[in-house]
Subunit: 228 residues, 2 copies
């Protein structure tokens, strides 16, 4: 009768939690389901995780650890690959986007990641202030874009389908002429996909930063911010 009891580890719990959130969404992640997924009762999880909130914190940190950040090239390509990596990771774990917004205490991988980003900028001649500026704009844009993209009713990688058209044209055309004009243009252009807006915005910001860097200069490092 003595059914061998299963022993689990913290890493197992986290991995299973992420997997469950990936397939069922974050609202589908319950302690009981998570326990069942690894063959254990819900309460057993609490020996590896303080509570559900801490579990979510740990999951968020693991997601950050997935982000690719090369440090062996110039800052611009570093930031670029990071941006694309963030977007890819958030695509894999859509729930993580909403978590990042609600967690207040960052994990170790998160902090390490941010430190590395700053490190690249500083190394390539950004003053402390300009590095702060750069980090702010880039992060805000990348994060904001990912959220925006996810709340769209269609797949952003593919050109718009008939289905998308139906969804998009559900609001009255004459009442919102500019929106109508824009969606019409989207639909007629088969090459268009929303994802290219990411590239556009990112390059716009990187251009701006490059200009700001040129003004401050890589050798002359002002004590205070590049502006004012």
């Amino acid at each position: 009768m003595a059914e061998k009891r299963i022993r689990i580890t913290r890493d197992q719990v986290l991995a299973a939690a992420i997997g469950l959130a990936d397939t069922d969404g974050i609202e589908g992640l319950t302690m009981r389901k998570l326990g069942r997924a690894i063959g254990v009762e819900a309460m057993s999880l609490y020996h590896h995780v303080a509570n559900k909130d801490r579990l979510l914190d740990a999951m968020t940190d693991l997601v950050f650890a997935e982000i690719d950040l090369p440090t062996d090239t110039d800052w611009r390509t570093c930031m670029r690959t990071r941006a694309y990596s963030v977007r890819a990771v958030m695509g894999r774990h859509p729930w993580a986007l909403r978590l990042v917004g609600s967690r207040t205490s960052p994990g170790l991988a998160t902090v390490a990641h941010h430190d590395a980003v700053l490190g690249v900028l500083r190394r390539d001649g950004f003053s402390v202030a300009l590095a702060a500026h750069a980090f702010s704009v880039l992060d805000a844009f990348i994060y904001g874009f990912a959220v925006q993209e996810q709340s769209l009713p269609f797949d952003t990688e593919e050109p718009p389908t008939e289905l998308a058209q139906e969804i998009l044209s559900q609001f009255p055309t004459d009442q919102f002429p500019h929106l109508a004009e824009m969606t019409a243009r989207y639909l007629e252009d088969n090459e268009y996909n929303y994802a290219q807006e990411f590239t556009y915005g990112l390059d716009l910001i990187l251009d701006g930063l490059e200009r700001a860097l040129a003004v401050g200069g890589p050798t002359y490092t002002p004590e205070r911010g590049a502006r004012e």
Copy 2:
């Protein structure tokens, strides 16, 4: 014995829901508490709102209606005041930020707002494609910044306090040198507040758009995007 029954309206429900979310946070908003707040049983709310999800949708739309969007000036100041207004509104209703990310079907005020933004851009010479670009970058940045700002552990309007210092220096200085350097700089500069990063990023983006607009020109309107 006949305690007079209270009659409520949909608007009352929504207003109370927003008030409750403002004070208790979105997770503190429950149907029972909401009912109690307006002197009614929880189930009575369902005569004015289909379910909690719809309630949240309606709340989100009301928040969008609060955003100030002047249309009687040039696009740049329009976008600027809009940006500041979004930030202010999201400061008043922190929960709305997370809702926007999870709602997929926008309300009427939301759609109208977006249409008005596009209208301003088109009026001032943006091609359809460039207007789409502008809208994407700006919205992503504004939204992303607001989220970023909220997940920071300190008040972004005030210069850093002792408390903030304690929080910020909780991670090992030697392990994350660049982060340490940056927070050190923050703390020594009494004028600094994180809010100015919003201005910096916004201006950087607006500058970029202005340049793109100048290239395309207000008269010559290319069929396809300004880039490629």
